[in-house]
Symmetry: C2
Subunit: 339 residues, 2 copies
Amino acid sequence: MVKVAVNGYGTIGKRVADAVAKQEDMKVLGVTKTKPDFDAVIASKKFDLYAVNEQSLKVFEENGIEVHGTVEDLLKKADIVIDCSPDKVGAENKKIYEKFNIKAIFQGGEKKNVAEISFNSLANYNAAVGKRYVRVVSCNTTALCRLIYTLKENFKIGKIRATILRRVSDPKEDSKGLMNAIMPDPINVPSHHGPDVKTVIPDVDIVTAAFKLPTTLMHVHFLSIEMKEKINPSDVLTVLENEPRILLVSVGKGFTSTAKIIEYAREFRTRYDLFENVVWKESINVDGNDLFITQAVHQEAIVVPENVDAIRAMLNLSSKDESIEKTNKSLGIGKLSIV
Amino acid sequence: MVKVAVNGYGTIGKRVADAVAKQEDMKVLGVTKTKPDFDAVIASKKFDLYAVNEQSLKVFEENGIEVHGTVEDLLKKADIVIDCSPDKVGAENKKIYEKFNIKAIFQGGEKKNVAEISFNSLANYNAAVGKRYVRVVSCNTTALCRLIYTLKENFKIGKIRATILRRVSDPKEDSKGLMNAIMPDPINVPSHHGPDVKTVIPDVDIVTAAFKLPTTLMHVHFLSIEMKEKINPSDVLTVLENEPRILLVSVGKGFTSTAKIIEYAREFRTRYDLFENVVWKESINVDGNDLFITQAVHQEAIVVPENVDAIRAMLNLSSKDESIEKTNKSLGIGKLSIV
């Protein structure tokens, strides 16, 4: 039973902790928080809670929230740590992980050189086997890697041009946003997503552009993929239908926007978490040599299964297929693919 | 002095009427409205107001708004009519225009077969010379035509792939919208914009995809253009700087989003109307054979100069260059190109 520490219990951390707790070959040894907010109260009821430092420990005690020590106390006992702290804080935390000689998984908000490899379960599981430091790429990059890897395994693909329509902030973030505008982010190409995909799938020709939009639910990607062979949209549909981490939906069934996709997920998933790429069936079109695909990405949830798989790869617990199957089964991935 | 009737005084109609009134070779004979709302009061103070039918005429009189008759009374006296009625109503109105044997300009909300030609001043002014029915293409198509024509005249271009990020509704429309989502519109390619560009520039290889977003200010287009020659971004910048109907702005000067572009326009233009394509300088990038350009489009205003030019072409009043220069000068186009 692998003892997992989750350092940071925010948007990603709370989901990763829940997902790890559902695995039969691992358990959550503890989670860390900085502030005694409502998420800390929930964390302390579900898991052993640790403070990020001595000062934070005092504040938790003053607020009557049970804590079991600091992050250092937790790291001493754990086999591996998943760093779910805010962007760039992970790189700072690495110093402590080195001190405690513990394997660590970082998130996509960190620079690629924080880890030995950038990771996506489908695309390069084996590259993480036995590694000490692994970085799970960001939500958008994860979605791109899954889709591109799946296409690349089945068809001869050429240059990819992708437009990334970004939700401006997560639903809980009520102090920042973009009220009524469209913001190129950045204004020049490529956005970081294209180069980031190449950290996982080096031999792909991709350029991405990204825009921030006044919405919080999901990102949307519009991909144009130059094909090096004649293909039929129905062949692509079949290939995508066979990948459990890709969920196919249809405008014809009422999935007219990201709002409807989330409305559907609210019926079936805690926190309406969608771990899958959500691809619109009708978006799979061919024009000349170009294949077009549009997908929606639930930024809060999509990297969760990859974090779980990264643990198994780094500790050499399972083969790629075994790990993905275990993770999928435990999180219900593959069961929604009926719409 | 050409006598122009403006049938419909909504978003486009009120702007077109103002623009026609500024030309020295034409005058607004009258405008029409359906309902006695605040726009009708403004219209009646600036122009001779006509009702769209007898019933509407009575309502205006009951509300104490001065009207000079119905649209039929107006058409009898006019040399040309600009139809600015809502989408698809223009095709209905065509029957009256045929009855009164009057030349008519339709807007992009009508199907292309409503008119003999689809029109964009830069791209095909001469095709409208002497014509009886002309359709000025929609805001997005106008912006695409201007940019593509300008590039095509100066460089060897190949396939164009464009992503169109659409504002969901105009600022005044308070009863419809998309609160918090991204809606593919339509989900398959092409959106109507690509084929619509080809009605104006037939020999262009273009495919477009469109998405509706929760914003009202402007559309944004992200274009990827396969070049058939080596080019330098600075050459493209120079070419675009020389076209008055394209306004270049820079993120470096604070134009981080459509909100900032509109904030700037509020200082200089009535109703903050931007008749120009607004291209971000930093967006002009080259990757391999691809040229990338991002532009913002003020959906309420961009087609106004084209409507004015269409009058001159159809009545053979001026050459293309003369008409464009007169329209630009009267509307202040070309004078903002300093950011």
